[in-house]
């Protein structure tokens, strides 16, 4: 599923629009960056509340497709700026990470 279709189906708020034609093929939930680095599958949607620029760096290096900030968690302006610069898609939802992840998983399967 493409990110743009994910946005349409979930109604998640767009914090930064990167390449919305990029595919999403999995879901991963975690807030510890090295854990995400080592375990998140490439091209996944990553649910987190860690809205800093290091999260953006991790998503770029681990080939994560899109970051979804759960529970309306705060996203640093520096993180948004870095995402804009690097073409990383950022979304936001008021749902908890588990519920948002479940929803994405349903849409993917």
């Amino acid at each position: 599923m493409k990110i743009k279709d994910l946005v349409k189906s979930t109604g998640f708020e767009v914090v930064n629009e990167g390449d919305f034609d990029r595919e999403v093929s999995g879901v991963y939930c975690c807030d510890l960056l090295s854990w995400v680095m080592g375990r998140a599958p490439a091209d996944s949607a990553w649910l987190t509340v860690m809205g800093n620029m290091n999260a953006v760096a991790v998503s770029v290096l681990a080939d994560i497709s899109v970051i979804v900030f759960a529970e309306n968690s705060a996203v640093d302006p520096t993180a948004i700026a870095k995402a804009a610069e690097q073409g990383v898609s950022l979304l936001k939802t008021n749902k908890p990470a588990f519920e948002a992840g479940l929803l994405i998983n349903e849409l993917l399967s």
């Binding site: 510890l32 960056l33 680095m37 860690m50 681990a62 080939d63």
Partner: protein
């Protein structure tokens, strides 16, 4: 002989720039047409090494050498060193302080990730002198 070498100075304690060297290496490898799987492995291993130097060693250097067979990554600092390397290599072991953990670091997974995502991994460290990690990722499996 190396077809290409890249060198980076990584500043210490600067989280705003942490990951820049790894991103640049990733982009250069992409331009060279290296396979995405190999690039991802290199990117993960390099980033973990880069961020470790920023957090634990007040910065250092990264050298990448790309030849026909493999990519060799040398991550070197002159920081405080690691007293017990075997312990540091264990998943979950960390000395990261609370303010570092609040940023999402300190899972104690960085060194294990570096070993997991590379084909050769070698770490040497001396307290008071620094740490050197040399890793190789093969271009074809």
């Amino acid at each position: 002989m190396s077809a290409l070498t890249l060198h980076y100075d990584v500043p210490g304690d600067d989280f705003t720039r942490a990951g820049e060297a790894s991103s640049d290496i990733k982009n250069k490898l992409k331009q060279m047409g290296i396979s995405p799987d190999v690039i991802r492995n290199v990117a993960i291993a390099t980033y973990e090494g880069e961020i470790n130097m920023v957090i634990h060693a007040n910065g250092g250097t990264i050298d990448a050498a790309i030849d026909a067979e493999s990519i060799t990554l040398t991550i070197k600092d002159t920081g405080g060193g690691i007293p017990d390397v075997e312990l540091a290599m264990q998943e979950g072991y960390t000395t990261a302080q609370e303010h570092i953990r609040a940023l999402g670091f300190g899972a104690g997974m960085g060194l294990p990730n570096m070993k997991k995502y590379t084909d050769e991994f070698n770490i040497t460290s001396e307290v008071g002198k620094g740490t050197e990690v040399i890793m190789k990722v093969y271009l074809s499996k």
